[in-house]
Symmetry: C2
Subunit: 224 residues, 2 copies
């Protein structure tokens, strides 16, 4: 399976390296695929990623990554997602599953961040509205990049991840891929894409928990 | 210890009955303490509560409840909390711990609800600002009333509850009371009262989880 990832920060790099390790053919899309030595947000320079990803991973523009992917992952910053997806091109997303793992974090007033969109709207919904022929599935945004790709590293994997989206079959497919690629054991379907509001609005407590616990290596479990 | 509870809906009634059962002297405050046979939101008529609470529980106005309490609990609807606290009277809250368990849910557009306050403000903060001499501790708002008073009913109590507030000693005292009164084993201090934003913004996913799981008998555990 071919996967295109939009965004070359720590989330895109971590997802991309793990998929390439699993033998998935990955194109990691960025505005500046030729700038190999520039640090990428909290992520490493792309030269490190290319070495790590090996023969199954390569770099490209947003449009190249999206065109390559049978499934596309939005791992850009939430505030830049709509622009990045526009550069990727609607025709390169048509009919495809678009896994949206981004969070609309607003750092303009410093830390802790607030959200640029919330309550009666969400980034997931805005993306679905802007790209109506993509099958948007919001997922993985409620935990950090290292837990996304290796849930067993926290509490032996005994915790939950969520999916939100309008296409039931696309959500089932994503749930199945999360297990196959990363080992996620429990995927909870929250509902249609408007339920992405809940998944995104969990970020403010996530940020506080990072401070309170002194580590980002945790995740939400729904105790029943 | 004397406790005053503001709000006679299902949350106030459930907290009040459990405290009275534990031998805490409770006054349950309501706008209409004489209307015993009127159904209270999703809660039972107050005649039932009086019978259940027994000798340690009685009804009063908001001001009577607050004056009675060495500790006061805000269990009103979030949209009515500031008005109820104003009726309770700032002098009846001065220097006291004010446990705020309310959520600013907005049902004006139907279900699922949105929030009337969020992102860069919270109900907890608004209450602290309006009553600067009360020691506001946001807590218990992230789970339902039955789990609040009996955490062991879900996953043998293996899940978490949060406290937010500006007074460290008040938060420690609340954590200790949550264990003593109800059996809470794990209380996570999220930080100052601005961290109530995170605790309140978890409500939209809580509501979706209720739908997805088909039961409100669950709670958040922070898997580490």
């Amino acid at each position: 399976m071919n996967v295109g990832i939009l965004g070359s920060g720590v989330v895109g790099q971590t997802l991309g390296a793990k998929l390439a390790e699993r033998g998935v053919e990955v194109v990691l899309g960025t505005r500046t695929p030729k700038q190999l030595d520039e640090k990428r947000g909290m992520g490493a320079p792309l030269s490190d990623w290319v070495a790590k990803a090996g023969k199954h991973g390569r770099l490209g523009t947003f449009a190249e990554a999206a065109a390559h992917g049978e499934l596309v992952i939005n791992a850009t910053s939430g505030t830049g997602s709509l622009e990045a997806l526009t550069l990727a091109g609607a025709k390169n997303l048509d009919g495809k599953i678009l896994m949206d793992v981004a969070n609309p974090l607003d750092f303009s007033k410093g830390v802790p961040p607030s959200l640029t969109i919330c309550n009666t709207d969400s980034l997931g919904e805005q993306i679905q509205k802007a790209f109506p022929r993509a099958k948007v599935v919001k997922t993985l945004n409620t935990t950090n990049a290292y837990v996304m790709v290796d849930p067993n590293t926290v509490a032996r994997g005994d915790h939950d991840i969520f999916v939100s989206g309008n296409d039931a079959e696309a959500k089932r497919r994503v749930a199945s891929l999360l297990e196959e690629w990363f080992g996620w054991k429990s995927v909870i379907d929250l509902g249609d894409i408007t339920s992405a509001r809940g998944a995104e609005m969990i970020l403010p407590i996530w940020v506080r928990l990072w401070g309170a616990l002194g580590t980002p290596m945790f995740n939400f479990k729904i105790a029943r």
